[in-house]
Subunit: 364 residues, 2 copies
């Protein structure tokens, strides 16, 4: 089976490459092609891929469709893990895949389960791709993986989890009792390797998650493993006493990821108003995503197998009962021991530098 | 099981009422409620329903949602067969159904199978309702029934099929060899009665069709049964010889349904251009629908079980192998004998009167 991947140097794409390379049967090993935009060919991440045995092909998704079709000819499976801002480039990719006779197209989903449209802004673009794929009558599989372990941990007073990326500091929207499906980023590829070789998943949606627990249970586990008490900031409905003081800034002593801590204490009702406020504002696009995600999995509880089944998803645990994946507890232990690899390392360093620059300018 | 129907006086709604009343087990018999807009309560169609044992409830879908919720409390299944221009009224209906604890919501689909969005203009509204229903986590079933027998027959030289409604006269877009799923309008209710009582169809899409044949095979059958030769007007691609003369008006001797014969001879490529031209033009909304339908089932071949399965539909023939439905051949015989009941009788009379009025004005 020949697989081509768009976005192979990203976090999800890299996990998929590793998963295909590690697959116990060897059918993928010599046949992974990373489609790389011409301007990125000389990046170190690309030569890293090449060293692992991945073929590199220069491909411009915004270039001539016939060119793309030629490149996909002979490929069995196309997997896209494109940036959320570039999801529309999947349209020509799907057109080319159809013309090239690709046998399975995996559009970029790889996120939490939620209603198709109107929940998180870029999810609508993902549904547009899926609708386009279905209009082409192109065989496909949608894979959602829930929330990554790697962005699930709260901060602890000692600061030893401060290098872990998180989107919402220690805020819990709602009562913290909605279950949420989570997966270790490193397991995404292991799931994908099984799913794309499985005829049962053709023209289906699959929800591949490893761990299912509530926000409160995540905190309980970290308290147990760390021996530290975590302050939980509940964002409750205005009508539930005690009302929270709005816009309280959360203390972030020594935190290295302030840029990602955009969430302020709002009431549950205010989240809808806040979403309306930041919608359409390019500068607040990340804040919008965080608020919309919180609404979906913390307030509504969308990202769980029951709702996924209701939406027509197959569940990877049902399909592959022998595959257990990395346990959430093991990941937490690793993180508390400082052994967890930070995400988006380059981007984080750039963001922190920009923030420090800004702070320095403010002081002069 | 208690069932409430919106649109019970329409063609589809009436078929559903009849199907539920005729269901061999009696569980539906006393419990059908027609939700009728207050201004229509005194129409003869409504008292006809009442005579059959259907309960009548005045309901305003654009009124207070709480009022609607009260009316739906205790109802098990809500079925909507609303006009395509009023599909947005299903949003408050779904909200009320969720609050009332309705166990199954059947939004108004009841059409041919096609891609979710971007094919026929009002189908997008149907998908919007479905997305809303799924966001509410409201149990649902989507039912598509293909193309009605009652609008499938071509004209024959003797004129004895002229009273049958058709949308496209004797034009065939493409080569006429795409199979198309068809159902006798009178069987829709028989399918619905089974589907809404079936736990396997909960939160699923079902394609309920009886007959599967190509446009050419429909003509072949009518020629065989009538002994008349039918002129077939193929609308082929411009690149296929011989090119057709564009905008040729088709002769309609003595036809009583001129208002519905809006289709002109265009090349297959021109259909896309024509669609673009009439899009957004309220006055041409019916023409737009016809062109889009033709593109979907005659050119693309969407309305068939293979494509439906690809889109995730269950097929009624698989679910209910014992149910055969009225055969297409039997319907054709009935129609050739002049025994087929015309559709939309009142609307047709109004349209013909308006047309005659216009023609008379043109002559003065």
């Amino acid at each position: 089976m020949k697989v081509a991947i768009v976005g192979a140097t990203g976090e999800t794409g890299n996990s998929i490459v590793e998963g295909l390379l590690a697959a116990t049967d060897t059918k993928f090993k010599q046949d992974i092609t990373a489609l790389i935009r011409p301007s990125s060919l000389k990046k170190p991440e690309v030569s890293d891929l090449e060293k692992k045995g991945v073929k590199i092909a220069a491909a411009d998704l915004r270039g001539p469709e016939d060119e793309l079709t030629k490149q996909l000819t002979g490929i069995d499976v196309v997997i896209s893990t494109i940036l959320s801002s570039e999801l529309r480039d999947e349209i020509p990719l799907a057109n080319a895949a159809k013309k090239a006779g690709v046998k399975r197209f995996v559009p970029c989903f790889f996120g939490p389960v939620m209603p198709g449209r109107g929940m998180v802004w870029f999810r609508d673009d993902k549904e547009n791709t899926l609708n386009h794929v279905q209009t082409l009558y192109l065989p496909y599989t949608v894979i959602d993986v829930g929330w990554w372990y790697q962005i699930s941990l709260p901060r602890v007073p000692s600061g030893r989890l401060d290098s872990i990326m998180r989107l919402t500091d220690n805020c819990i929207v709602g009562d913290g009792n909605k279950v949420c499906g989570r997966t270790d980023l490193r397991d995404i590829g292991n799931y994908v390797a099984r799913i794309i070789a499985d005829p049962r998943t053709l023209n289906q949606k699959v929800f591949a998650y490893t761990d299912l627990r509530t926000h409160n249970e995540v905190y309980d586990l970290i308290e147990k493993l760390s021996g530290e008490k975590i302050e939980r900031q509940y964002v409750r409905s205005n009508t539930n006493p005690p009302p929270l003081k709005k816009k309280t800034k959360i203390k972030r002593p020594g935190s290295s990821n302030e840029t990602l801590a955009m969430f302020q204490l709002l009431s549950a009702e205010d989240i809808e108003a806040e979403i309306a406020k930041v919608k359409g504002d390019e500068a607040n696009i990340n804040k919008l995503s965080v608020l919309q995600y919180q609404k979906s999995w913390d307030l509504r509880g969308d990202n769980c197998p029951d709702y996924a089944r209701y939406l027509g998803y197959q569940i990877a645990k049902d399909l592959y009962p022998d595959f257990t994946g990395i346990s959430f507890e093991d990941y937490c232990k690793e993180a508390l021991e400082g052994k967890s690899k930070p995400l988006y390392e380059k981007k984080r360093r750039e963001a922190i530098a920009a923030m420090q620059q800004k702070a320095a300018e403010g002081q002069t």
